[in-house]
Symmetry: C2
């Protein structure tokens, strides 16, 4: 019991447990990769010999699961696919796996999934957007699970984020639409409740109108869940409004593709009669005809940076630092000046 | 210790642990939903009182995590998105959460992810396609994690599957192409190694040629990883071949969209000069211009049925039953007879 007693070595533990030193090391550093029985034997030997002087450090090491959770609003439509793939690639380089759940844009499902992922022992969480109940952030703090927000950048928010300025980007695009001469603007937005990205984009359009000295009557707003069919329906409704918009801005590319499809089936020429814009620059935006003028979001860059930051948080090197990824407008063929 | 001793009740356990009976019940049935500390206290009380007569049953109950893992080859391109969303919706109705990982079509990554998901305590696994090393299935059996295969139906395989007949469906489509009069067929396939869906589709085309009495020289094959850009590159290469194919069949819609895009940029008219077909019938297939003739896979039906079957396996009601989902050809605008 005295200080003179020689400290047990990795070798002693391995001998006691009847395994290799590599296995002992793996047990302490990535227990998930060792079968239960072996892990128990090694931990028993560790306990018996009192191998690690600092118990807290051992518990921490043993608790590391080397898996990260991400909860995205939808797996459909490729909005999150590219960024998430880059996020996973970067995690993998650092030895972490990714587990993904999707919430169908429903806060109560997201809450369940956060609990599931925490219960399954993820080391950290990636969440989309800032807007959620404070009790969720309390819960994560209580369980000491670092969480990083992506797809949204709000440096003043409680949680750190690696995202972009949804409001500023949409404001720039709306100014472009106004500069082309449009004075009746339709906006097909995603549902803004519980979705700070959608809300910020609507505010961005309002900012542009205010800056240009136009009244609120310049804009007609329709909210609808994301989805191609919903975009199509909203566009048909928009075409019934009086005055009819000459430009329809959409909250994302998926809605814009729906709007384009509906314009085609209504025999409304784009961009001749009505201009359409998107947001995200997913692959579809370039492939569709006419190709979409949209906001390019560097999804891969965001995914990579989010992974690096979250691992720094998990490994205790960062308390969570926010990063703003810059976006830019991609001019293609769906936006021109209005006819009259 | 005698048999006359009254068995402890749920109430006794609750009293001993200082929690409600509902909490005790939750601990035994869905421990993931109870915070660690409470769960430990309850299990301690259960142990102390010897509450459950059948220890195996208690361990089983306590081990149920009510989460299911799925490993898909890619999150990109929406190939798996729709089926997976339906799979998740159905799981959710039955009280299970879904954790998804993606393997980038790489077997060694998939193997790691299977271990991660098993280590994180999922109750069952959904895997895409049958082809993988036997040791993986051995590992799953050893850990008693039921696994179901989807997107592929092979009743003679070791693992049960809820999928469709990739070979038969592609054979039907190839017969349609031959019936239209095409005699020089290009096939842009996904990489067949380690991907039984891709391989079966190639075999389907060969079956159709053999049935129609055409030689192997009727078909020109290029393999490439799934992706729009890869489809485009393969199409450009295909157009250099001699004889030049009059119809290019693609292993999935994503490759077909790439082929269409490249045809456009090469100034080759589709379907006038070259016909193009896809497989899957993702949303893109209908939206692209010209719209794609393709094989419709009822992804939602497959996802729902796979979820029901896997839960039956997890809950011990089924040893794993295979189901074949039927597909059909959707005729749109990308396939007509050859010019000459």
């Amino acid at each position: 019991m005295g200080k003179s007693r020689t400290a047990p070595t990795l070798n002693d533990v391995a001998k006691e447990a009847g395994v290799s030193t590599a296995t002992v090391s793996r047990c302490l550093n990535s227990p998930a990769r060792v079968v239960d029985e072996t892990r128990k034997r090694v931990l028993k030997a560790v306990d018996k010999l009192g191998y690690t002087p600092n118990i807290a450090a051992r518990i921490m090491a043993a608790n590391r699961s080397y898996s990260i959770g991400a909860i995205i609003p939808t797996m459909d439509n490729a909005i999150f696919a590219r960024g998430l793939q880059a996020f996973q690639d970067q995690l993998r380089e650092k030895g972490y796996s990714l587990l993904v759940a999707s919430s169908a844009y429903r806060p109560e499902i997201e809450k369940d999934q956060i609990r599931t992922l925490v219960a399954r022992g993820v080391d950290g969480l990636l969440l989309i957007g800032h807007e959620r109940k404070h009790e969720i952030y309390d819960y994560l703090e209580q369980h000491q699970v670092p969480a990083l927000v992506a797809w949204s950048y709000m440096p003043e928010a409680r949680q750190p984020s690696v995202g972009f300025d949804n409001r500023g980007a949409m404001c720039d695009l709306a100014r472009r639409v106004l500069a082309a001469g449009h004075r009746h603007i339709g906006l097909i937005s995603g549902v803004t409740e519980g979705n700070d990205r959608a809300l910020s984009r609507v505010e961005g359009v309002r900012d542009a109108l205010a800056k240009a000295g136009h009244g609120a009557e310049t804009m007609t707003l329709i909210e609808t869940p994301y989805g191609i069919d919903n975009g199509a329906r909203a566009f048909a409704e928009m075409m019934q409004r009086n005055p009819r918009p000459t430009a329809v801005m959409c909250g994302n590319d998926v809605l814009a593709v729906g709007a384009l499809r509906e314009a085609q089936s209504l025999g409304i020429s784009v961009p001749g009669e009505v201009a359409i814009t998107g947001f995200d620059d997913i692959e579809l935006a370039e492939i569709i005809s006419p190709s979409l003028t949209t906001v390019h979001v560097p999804h891969r860059e965001m995914g990579r940076k989010a992974a690096s930051e979250l691992i720094d948080m998990v490994e205790g090197r960062s308390a969570g630092q926010s990063t703003c990824i810059s976006t830019h407008i991609v001019s293609r063929h769906s936006l021109v000046a209005p006819k009259n």
